[in-house]
Amino acid sequence: MEHFLGFAIPGIPYGCTYALVAVGLVLTYQATGVLNFAYGAQAYLSAFVFTYLVQNEHLPVALSFVISVVVLAPVVGLVLDRFLFRKIAPANVIAKLVTGISMLVGIPAILAIIFTNSNQYNAPSILFNPNVVYFRIAGTPINGIDITSVVATAATLAALLVLLRWSSLGLQMRGAVESRRLVELDGVNGGRVVASAWAVSGLIAGLAGVLLAPVYGQLQFSDYAALMVAAFAAAAWAVLRSLPVAVLVGVLMGVTVTLLQGYLPVGSIWSSAALTSLPFVVLVGALVLVPGLRTLGQAKDPLASVDPPIPPTTAAIRAPEIDRVIRIAWVVMLVVFAVSMLTWMPKIWENVFNAGLAYSVVFLSITLITGMGGQLSLCQATLAGVGAFTAAQLANHLGLNLLVGGLVGAVAAALVAVVLAFASVRLRGLGLALMTIAAALLFDNTVFAEVSTVHGQPITVTSHSVGLGILDPNGHAFFVLAMVVLTICVVLVLRVRRGSIGRFLGAMQGSSTAASGIGVNLTWMHVLVFALSGAVAGVGGTLLSINQQSVNPELFSWSFSLVFVVVVVTTGVSTTEGAIQAGFGYVVLQQLLTYVPARLGGNSLLIVFFAFGALTYVAHPEGILEFQKRRWTLRMERLVLRGRPAPAAAPPTGPGGEPRGLAAADADPDPVVGR
């Protein structure tokens, strides 16, 4: 028993760290209807600023706390509300997710740009001295960090329960989450209530961030992100409603971790795998077993019907003449590009464009799952990694050519995607995003950690394992290979999009109720689009590894999955063109940033650029770049077709109202629907 307590007690403060963040997540969701993916970034922001002010600016701890937590944290919450989330219709779950993810990757990148020295160590504790053992329970020493975690969690839980249950603001918050418009009809200032909720939740994020900072020796965003997944797990079991349940699950997870640490053999694979994967297993368990999570994110607002419909990721509608011109322009560009790559292109830029081709294939998988399937997957880099590691391990162990292995890798990635699809078959939107990010972190911490080395060395791609002179630095074989692979993938994706499956998926996106009502098997479509997306990502992953001449687990980590999403969402998630623009935009900007002084931020600037680009998803779900392209196409169309008599609009037949929107389509009896 003493052994058990000795193992279990240290888990309580550990679990309290999960619980504290989970409480913040539940509060935000309860009061605003948003599962705030940026929460970990908000906590990290306050912790970073607090530590910076104390360590670098030598401000007193109390003043630094006031600046970073009491002032900055609520202001960040208010900014997120005022400028981002308030503009999103309650039913638009994907837009809320994309906005949260943009901030999750954007805030740490902004910090890295502002504070060029982004390494912060040894954050001070605001309550108890972390180095002092205050007392012992069952022989277990309890230090300042332990006490801080427990006291902060208990105090926050108590304060929030009082706020939500016994204060008029709490009552208004609970009303506002059901329907902000309905409470406004009762004379409540709904905007102020929601803003208050964001400020309070921001304050808790800041408080949690600063309290937890001393737990980590070096402040790293990845620690806060991992903490957030554990918090997601606790919040998920609470169905994002019950604060006490969230705390209980958080603490239980902490206790389970330390018990496993105690009882499993030290240094065994079971020990390391069980410890790192526990939060993800708990999260996946909640997503599969808790029925309330299946409808998570669905608007319950009785006045939801007054919202305009969510803007669809519409197809571009072009006059046939313009469409012809655009097709010719594409072919000319392609020929010029290929000839340039094979003749005069400087080596450095040839490498950049080669990487762009490989990324384009990976990004096509996002076009499939998000653009066509209407689902947000946060594990596309993971699926690419499954393909790449499968191919690399087959090459190393069986001597299989990497190109053949790439096909096997694509099948492996598709199979992983199918397992994920079956596990998430009842989930949509929010639940699916959580499931896929859990899978990504699970692979990062377990599978990829195991397979990323051979005999203790990182996996490198050699000419022997690829052949055909693909790695010859003076040749163009990789370019030819990448062009062929990308072309095949684009053609297949376009055929699926324009064929029956694409139409079924379009129907599913438009109205899943009506789609199943006409005989579309939604489950099969869900699995199929995951499998196709996984296969394409797997091929892209192998191609990327050949291009990088190594199989680097960093490249396939969860954080890259998020970055990939914001990049593709910015350029255009609904078209194959968008994926290619994303692939090239990503690497070209990366290369251009190497020419500007490093103090301007380098890669962080790139992330910020795309993170802010993705914020436009709310207004332009087709992608801000795609939107601008369509605007210019429309202008060109008006210019070219000027003076031509407009064809008479077809008279309405039978019962019909006034046509609305898409006036150009009405004016043109034979528009071309381009993708």
């Binding site: 419909p309 379009g506 109720t513 006409i518 579309v520 309405p652 037949t653 039978g654 019962p655």
Partner: protein
């Protein structure tokens, strides 16, 4: 006593939400080629019964058969493939698609002709038979001149016709129309009623029509079933049902 040549049989179906019985032991039958109106005041349980038949809801008790095949354990898409066509109270269209695409996708889903391998081999262009069928249905409901218009450019009345055409193109054994006149004006309602009656007679299919516009019901249906508070309270031809004291009480809230 069971009706001869019954197509749809609903037997003692019950469905409740949080302790409130939305449908309570309802039984009804629809013959082949028959048009049945399902009416009743708000909250009578009409749409819940519809959802139980079409598969969006699973009843707690009772059985539902279509053409002798039990439906209760069958998912929605399989019921559609069996021959249940449906339109919705709140218009459910696919905003990214043209009118023609709506019909094509429904036709392929119904007859399971949309295959991945056909897409990958570029064999998914509409066949002559598919185009002929789609054109015929578009002509039937008067949408032929709007065939290539994106459905997002159409008004509510035309969207209701698109829903109807999408259901008809699957050659349903039975059409379940849920408040098709909702949101339409008097003129549009009359025209839609005429279209419904015409296609139902031409195609010889059965139809169940949930409708608040009793004028439309009177024009379109052969038989009327009245529900109130989750139960069937009257059944018969429209005039006699409307003269039923229980129906008048349900609608007007007065005791005869």
């Amino acid at each position: 006593m069971p009706l001869p040549d019954v197509l749809l049989r609903v037997d003692e179906v019950s469905k409740s939400f949080g302790g409130i019985a939305a449908v309570n032991g309802v039984s009804m039958e629809v013959r082949r080629g028959e048009s049945v109106g399902l009416v009743g005041p708000n909250g009578a349980g009409k749409t819940t019964l519809f959802n139980c038949v079409c598969g969006q809801l699973r009843p707690e008790r009772g059985g539902i058969d279509l053409d002798g095949r039990p439906l209760v354990d069958m998912p929605t898409f399989e019921r559609a493939r069996l021959g249940i066509g449906r339109t919705y109270q709140r218009v459910e269209v696919f905003p990214d698609m043209t009118v023609r695409d709506h019909l094509l996708v429904a036709h392929r889903a119904r007859w399971r002709t949309g295959r991945l391998w056909r897409d990958l081999c570029n064999l998914s262009k509409p066949t002559t038979e598919e185009s002929a069928k789609v054109d015929a249905v578009l002509g039937m409901v008067g949408l032929d001149e709007r065939a290539d218009a994106p459905v997002a450019s159409l008004g509510l009345g035309l969207c209701r016709l698109v829903e109807l055409a999408r259901a008809l193109v699957t050659d349903p054994m039975i059409l379940m129309a849920d408040e098709p006149s909702s949101g339409l004006d008097v003129h549009e309602t009359r025209e839609l009623g005429a279209v419904l009656r015409q296609v139902q007679r031409d195609q010889g299919m059965a139809m169940v029509l949930v409708e608040h516009d009793l004028g439309m019901v009177a024009e379109v249906v052969d038989r009327t079933v009245v529900m109130n508070l989750g139960e069937v309270i009257a059944e018969g031809d429209f005039a006699s049902v409307m003269a039923d004291p229980a129906v008048r009480t349900a609608y007007l809230g007065v005791q005869e």
